[in-house]
Symmetry: C2
DNA sequence: CTTGCGGTTTAGACTCATTCTAACTCTTTA
DNA sequence: TAAAGAGTTAGAATGAGTCTAAACCGCAAG
């Protein structure tokens, strides 16, 4: 179940928010806690439903707002696959995503620096890239524990 | 301007369609010609507008249908960036996409086989991937001629 | 205090890409 | 010529996400 944030995580949140000129609010705490509690790349709706168990008055618009704020503060990444609903991921380490064709589950795949480098190297001169998104589509055989980080 | 398909391209289209159990229709020819004429990763709307110059009665639904058919036959790839409108690309060679933050333009980036290989190698055992999507976000300095293929 | 202010939250209206539906057309097969 | 089947069409429906305007809240100034 969704716990409230521990001291450590609350401080991280607090700090990242204030760096971005934002405040820590009860809603933001709950939404952040939801993301940390179950790192399965939930959609906004999923976050909304989970958060409401803990804070029933929370509105969907606020969940959108909170998540956008987190993305702006670099606390969370958006994960898009084709045009499906955007998913959210609190894993900050550079990583790729693997989407299971059958279950729809999204798994994080560690991205070693040398692979990042070889990717950057394929850019022709004049192309400067800040963000690289890599996503695999396929099947992951069993091994439930491998998801996320 | 949009030309009608030359013999060679019409045959390719014809063949790919019939392999997928589909027929060559005037609408499909026009839509395909639009994609080949300007390889700038147009959205459905852009394809629609260009195609109407040549076939004014064409409907938007048909453009959606044609593009979906082409994707099904492997003639064309969809390109998605975040949740923006889907774009279409008739470049069949394996390649990544580079999206210019400022202009919004999408450029094709050639993907050498050894980079593909190193990417596949980061998948943990049990993960089998058929499709790998790679997209860069950044700025491309000038050099208009480098776009697409 | 209590008033005012800026940032946050809220419900509901709105947008817009995409999908669906049902009617229509065209071509082929019987 | 009729019936069947594929493809096309206009417009309605869907649904994720955004916008708007009102309510709320914590806090600093009076």
């Amino acid at each position: 179940m969704i716990q409230s944030l521990n001291e450590h995580n609350r401080e991280d949140l607090q700090e990242a928010l204030s760096k971005g000129g934002q405040k820590l609010t009860p809603q933001r705490e709950v939404v952040f806690a939801v993301l940390l509690a179950q790192r399965d790349h939930p959609t906004v709706d999923e976050v909304f439903n989970r958060a409401r168990e803990v804070m029933p008055g929370l509105s969907l618009a606020t969940v959108y707002n909170c998540l956008e704020t987190f993305v702006g503060c670099g606390l969370v990444r958006q994960v898009n696959h084709e045009r499906e609903s955007t998913r959210y991921c609190p894993n900050l380490a550079p990583h790729a995503h693997f989407r299971d064709k059958e279950t729809g589950q999204v798994h994080d795949i560690e991205l070693p620096p040398e692979v990042m480098k070889s990717l950057r190297s394929i850019l022709p001169p004049g192309f400067d890239s800040e963000v690289i998104e890599i996503s695999f589509l396929g099947r992951a055989k069993a091994n439930d524990s491998l998801n996320s980080n």
